[in-house]
Amino acid sequence: MEELTAVLRYFPLDPVTNPPNPILRDDLDRIAGETGTTITLAAVVGKSRTVEGEVIREDTMNSAIEDVSQDVITLTAKDEKALTLAVRALFKLYRAPRTVFGAWGSSPRGREIVYRLCDEYDGWY
């Protein structure tokens, strides 16, 4: 069976809308182990980003989605059940990405699984 990929993109919003829990390698490893998935984490820092205290500035108007500051969680799994369990666990910790491009880069079936799980529980509604 073709490997499934789900990409979850968390952009640097504010303390109310950021994930309620910090995205930690230990938690991702734990979920990966429990579900039989592979989970990687990458931090992207946009080229124009500046941070001064609580003020963040970044020019994203003509940026590619992948180039905007964000934490990118990439899950790969050999079956849908494993991917579903892992994404569901991540949503419980971090809530779902909020935008329509929050799963950009997922395989087609991976994206379907992500958005089906959003209907089930996205942490926003």
Partner: protein, 294 residues
């Protein structure tokens, strides 16, 4: 010190107009220069969602066709606002919502009302039919970055009834004085019913689908409910209050990380979507009769 009265009602010398004028009279007695505008005198066309204001930094296509740009720029000339609109079916007159929808323009032309005080007056006819009366006025003022310092529901119905109701006039006068004082002193502390949400002071709270968390739908702050001495209490973490939905830095990040990158998303999706939508183009004639109807 200049204070603008906004009337979101068509009726000449109706209760909304009289209440706002009474408020402005009181503000004038405090030394304010006052003026008034009736939003329903102006066409405000629907936002067409083409996002050219955001993505192309252009003026709205309706800029010279309707009154939105004019009304927004008029507001910018003032230091404080008294916004009056009647409660119709659970909410205020739709002109307020029409105005809100065209505020996408703020994404490229930031509001010049940030930090200025405002108050809301809503006359209404029937108790129990005002559940969302403050919703649209609160949204429009908060989205503009204003500090809402009071809001009043005023139970009044007969034509121009306010003119003969000292209690209604007294409430309006208090609003006008409060806005004038706020402009003069810089004290924008809230004077009205504290409500449930500590930011917007509304009483409409959403119970989230986890059935544990509650949220103010306007401000997006989240907390928990408890029952203390038989009374419902909503508690929101203090650190959330300065990061509510319409706080300037929160809005900046929303625009920067959730709206602007969608330009790239749209461009990349468009070739396939343009082809896929073909079958819907041919199915039924949605716009038949539209020209004749206008």
């Amino acid at each position: 010190m200049k204070i603008l009265g906004i009337v979101g009602s068509c009726r000449k010398l109706g209760n909304t107009e009289i209440l706002v004028k009474e408020a402005l009279m009181a503000a004038q007695e405090q030394g304010a220069e006052v003026d008034i505008v009736r939003w329903t005198n102006y066409d405000i066309f629907p936002c067409e969602g083409d996002a050219v204001c955001m993505f192309l930094d252009k003026d709205c296509k309706h800029k010279d066709r309707d009154g939105h740009d004019y009304l927004l720029n008029m507001m910018y000339e003032f230091d404080g606002v008294v916004l009056g609109a009647p409660c119709y079916i659970l909410e205020v007159e739709a002109v307020i919502k029409q105005f809100i929808d065209r505020l996408f323009i703020l994404s490229s032309r930031p509001s010049k009302m940030v930090g200025k005080p405002a108050a809301i007056i809503v006359p209404y006819a029937t108790r129990g039919w005002t559940s969302y009366a403050f919703l649209q006025p609160t949204i429009v003022l908060h989205f503009l970055g204003m500090h809402v310092i009071d809001k009043q529901l005023i139970h009044i119905q007969a034509m121009s009834e306010t003119a003969g109701d000292p209690l209604a006039r007294e409430k309006a006068r208090r609003i006008g004085k409060e806005v004038a004082d706020a402009v003069r002193t810089g004290d924008h502390s809230y004077k009205g019913d504290p409500g449930i949400c500590p930011v917007c002071h509304e009483r409409n709270i959403r119970i989230m689908s986890d059935n544990q968390t509650v949220e103010c739908g306007i401000c997006a702050i989240r907390g928990r409910l408890s029952i203390v001495d038989g009374k419902i209490r909503a508690e929101f973490p203090q650190e959330q209050l300065k990061w509510h939905r319409f706080a300037p830095e929160s809005l900046y990040r929303h625009s920067t990380y959730e709206i602007k990158p969608s330009k790239d998303y749209f461009i990349r999706k468009w070739p396939a979507l343009k082809q896929q939508r073909g079958i819907y183009k041919e199915f039924l004639d949605i716009d038949r009769g539209a020209k004749e109807a206008r």
